[in-house]
Structures are given as structure tokens and as C-alpha cells.
């Protein structure tokens, strides 16, 4: 597979690992923000290959994990509305809200369908004109433009029964909030690769200028991550933190301007509730007034009920990089993929799920 296999080459990986071992003298703490990066690291056992001087922390870049219970409860309440078909990415299906989950709602009779793309959701809307088809809009800047495109297409084709429940989140503001909290001391940040494919590398400059932290935008294959670690180590050894793109085949400094345009046409920044972090202003995306008739929040009177948090669940701390899943008493005991208590265990990208599935020996 072109552009995949070459970046999984074991011999080249060995060389990069060798170089990292050779160059790394100072103890550094690096965080991979993106859940997709966490999965690659765990799946290929990359932590094992790195020297002890390089400490890796996982961040909150899992859009499912950071969805607050209140927002989940809204989606579940909507699922129970008569005449509503919920369309969602598969990852959301089993995430437990305050009392239930979309999967349980489906077992109770709600029409909840897993889709691969908003294009599928639009098809479902076209084929079910008498129902309201609501797409659960989660994801970061990688996904938001695709949802924006779907709304514009619905408008163009006159599909009036398509709605979006907007729960998108933006990465740079939450990284700022994380760094401001002072809880995590970082030396380097592995920046999300596909978010950056959309927004470019410039939005990360503040991490270096305001916090002195080294930044490298990384791809998702094992060689990409290793290269990014090597570049971060190099920056830190030289004491010259800046923003660099390792993922040059996928990311330009200005990003994908067209995608940004579509995103900004349909959405505008709004406050968002991040699990474990709380409400961060300007870190979410809401639908602009002109597209209000696609907004599920406006179209329906949603009664999500009181929000409950699960006692003992450390997802919040894990998401902020303050604790690891191994620190959580519920990990592997009460909280497993079959009976997840928090979203970090459900989402395929969640730290807890990654640790559970890809544990190193």
C-alpha cells in the first residue's frame, strides 16, 4: 500500500531509533495530543523502543473521549424522540452517558444507525423524507469541514430533514487551556497530523512562542512518529524549540484553505465542554445563524435530564495527561471494553482502550 508500507519499514525505523538513542541526553516529556497517534504508539510498541530519557504522555485528542456527559445525554435524548433517525460514527455508539448510551437506546427501540460518512447520513435523509435524520457531529478540525460540506450539500439539494447536533471541538484552544492549567509540564508536543492537514502548522506557533514548547506535526505511521520524536529531541538538545512539520507529505504550513473556508462558512467558534477540563471558550464549533435550520439543538426541544458523572472514573485526569490509565482503580476491574465506565475505555482511540488492548509486556 503506497504511502503506508514505506512508512512501516522496520530497517528504517531501527535507524531512527538508533539516532534517537544517540542524540537524547536530557530527560524530556513529550505529549502526543492525538488519539490516533496514541494508537500507533501502542500498537507498534514504540515506547519500548525509545530511550528512558524520552517520556511519552498521552493527551486529550480523542474527540469521543472529551465529549462531556451532558452532550452525550443530548444525543441519547434525541434518539428517543419519535420520528428521529440518529446517524453517528461507530465510536459513539457505546459511550456511556449519565444513564444510558446510544447502543442501549437502540436496543430499546430507537433508530440509531452507524455511518462511515456524512454522505451516508444524507442518503438516509433522502430515503426517509418523513423522518428527521440527525447526524451527531463530533470530531476535530479534520472532520468539521466534512460535516460543513454535508450541510452545504443538503442546502443545495433541498434536503430539509437533515440536521446536525454540533459537538465539534477545536484543538489549539484546548491545548492552551491544558498548558495554562499548569498541571502538565511538557517539553515537546507531537501535533495532530490530520487536524494540521486542515488548519496548517501556523496555529501551533503559540505553543512555542507563549510556552517555549517544541512542536512537531506528525503523521500516523510508526516511522512518522519516530521521526517526530527524533525532531523534537533534536530541537530540545539544541535548546531551539519551534514548530516543524515532519508530516510534509500531508501538511502544508497554510493547511487546506478550501476546507477552512467551508468550515468557517457553516460554523463559528463557540464554548465547548471538554470532559475533565470543563468549558473552554472558543474551543467548539456552533452552527452559524444562516444555517440554524440544520441545527438539531434548535429544531428539537432536547431534555437530556440531570448530568451525572461516574464516581471513580479518572478519564478527566487521564485526558489531561496527569494520570495514566494504570493509575485508575477502575481500569481492568470495573471498567473494561465490555462494560466501560468512561469514554476513554470505549473509544478506539481512548488512552484506556489503547492501554487495555495493546499493553506491553
Amino acid at each position: 500500500m503506497k504511502f503506508i508500507d514505506e512508512f512501516r519499514n522496520a530497517d528504517l525505523a531501527k535507524a531512527v531509533v538508533s539516532r534517537i538513542h544517540r542524540r537524547s541526553k536530557r530527560h524530556v516529556r513529550l505529549m502526543e495530543f492525538c488519539g490516533g497517534h496514541t494508537v500507533t504508539i501502542m500498537k507498534h510498541g514504540l515506547r519500548q523502543l525509545l530511550p528512558e530519557t524520552v517520556e511519552m504522555l498521552s493527551g486529550p485528542g480523542c474527540p469521543v473521549c472529551v465529549t462531556a456527559n451532558r452532550d452525550l445525554d443530548k444525543a441519547i435524548a434525541l434518539a428517543r424522540e419519535p420520528g428521529v433517525i440518529i446517524t453517528t460514527f461507530g465510536d459513539m455508539l457505546k459511550v456511556p452517558g449519565s444513564r444510558s448510551s446510544l447502543q442501549r437506546a437502540r436496543a430499546d427501540g430507537a433508530d440509531v444507525r452507524v455511518v462511515y460518512s456524512t454522505l451516508d447520513a444524507l442518503e438516509i435523509a433522502r430515503e426517509n423524507r418523513e423522518k428527521a435524520v440527525v447526524f451527531i457531529g463530533i470530531g476535530f478540525e479534520t472532520t468539521a469541514p466534512t460535516v460543513a460540506a454535508s450541510i452545504l450539500k443538503a442546502e443545495e439539494k433541498g434536503i430539509r430533514n437533515y440536521y446536525v447536533l454540533p459537538m465539534h471541538k477545536l484543538c489549539p484552544p484546548v491545548i492552551r487551556a491544558l498548558l495554562d492549567s499548569g498541571e502538565v509540564k511538557l517539553d515537546g508536543l507531537i501535533c495532530p497530523g490530520h487536524v494540521s492537514a486542515i488548519i496548517g502548522s501556523r496555529p501551533w506557533e503559540f505553543v512555542t512562542t507563549d510556552y517555549g514548547i517544541a512542536c512537531v506535526v506528525s503523521g500516523f505511521e510508526p516511522l512518522d512518529i519516530l521521526q517526530s520524536v527524533e525532531m523534537l529531541v533534536e530541537q530540545l538538545e539544541k535548546g531551539e524549540p519551534r514548530v516543524e512539520i515532519a508530516y510534509r507529505r500531508g501538511v502544508k504550513p497554510e493547511g487546506n484553505v478550501r476546507a477552512q473556508e467551508l468550515m468557517n462558512t457553516v460554523f463559528e467558534p463557540s464554548p465547548a465542554d471538554w470532559r475533565g477540563i470543563g468549558i473552554v471558550p472558543g474551543s467548539g464549533l456552533g452552527l452559524r445563524k444562516e444555517y440554524g435550520n440544520f441545527d438539531a439543538e434548535l429544531a428539537f426541544d432536547i431534555e437530556p435530564g440531570p448530568t451525572l458523572e461516574h464516581k471513580g472514573c479518572l478519564c478527566g485526569d487521564v485526558l489531561r495527561g496527569v494520570k495514566t490509565p494504570l493509575d485508575c482503580k477502575l481500569f481492568r476491574t470495573a471498567c473494561t471494553p465490555e462494560h466501560p465506565i468512561g469514554p476513554c475505555m470505549v473509544s478506539s482511540e481512548g488512552s484506556c482502550a489503547s492501554y487495555y488492548h495493546y499493553e506491553t509486556v
Binding site: M1, K2, F3, I4, E6, N9, D11, L12, K14, A15, V16, S18, R19, R22, C34, G35, G36, H37, G61, P63, F89, D91, Y116, S117, T118, L119, D120, I138, G139, F140, T142, T143, P145, T146, A149, L152, K153, P192, G193, H194, V195, A197, I198, F220, L223, Q227, A246, R248, R249, G250, V251, K252, N256, R258, A259, L262, E349
Partner: protein, 80 residues
């Protein structure tokens, strides 16, 4: 939601394209990458191309790794 895979554009029809990964075809939207041409590689995410892959940069990166590999080899052999 970061999973995006590199696929090659085989045909373009308006705002949609037929793409392929190792002989497997799929129909996707190219509204986010209207400049794409047949033969280009794109990053596919939830049914949409989100970026055109810069093949030259990919080659450069791989070359970089190979240089690193030679260097590490030399150092290994060179050390007493």
C-alpha cells in the same frame, strides 16, 4: 477523529471521485480538494478527500530516512 488513508484518484465525476487503495475502489467526495487531478493521491477521511498528498515530499522524507540509516550504519561499524 484522525484516521485518514492515502488513496489514488482514478476518475473524477463532478464533486466525486473514484479512488483506489491496492486494488480496492471506493467513491468519495472531493469538495474539499477541488484542485485534485486523476492520478493524484489524496488523504481519505470519512468519505472525503481532505488533502492532496505531496508525492515529492514523501520521496524526500523517505530519502531522509535512508540517509539516516546509512549514517547509523557507518557509526555502528566505525565505533571501536
Amino acid at each position: 477523529m484522525c484516521l485518514a488513508i492515502p488513496v489514488q484518484v482514478k476518475a473524477i465525476e463532478g464533486s466525486e471521485a473514484e479512488v483506489e487503495l491496492s486494488g480496492i475502489g471506493r467513491r468519495i467526495s472531493i469538495v474539499l480538494t477541488p484542485e485534485v487531478r486523476v492520478g493524484d493521491y489524496v488523504l481519505l477521511h470519512t468519505g472525503y478527500a481532505i488533502n492532496v498528498i505531496d508525492e515529492e515530499e514523501a520521496e524526500e522524507t523517505l530519502k531522509l530516512f535512508e540517509e539516516m540509516a546509512s549514517l547509523e550504519d557507518e557509526l555502528e561499524r566505525g565505533s571501536p
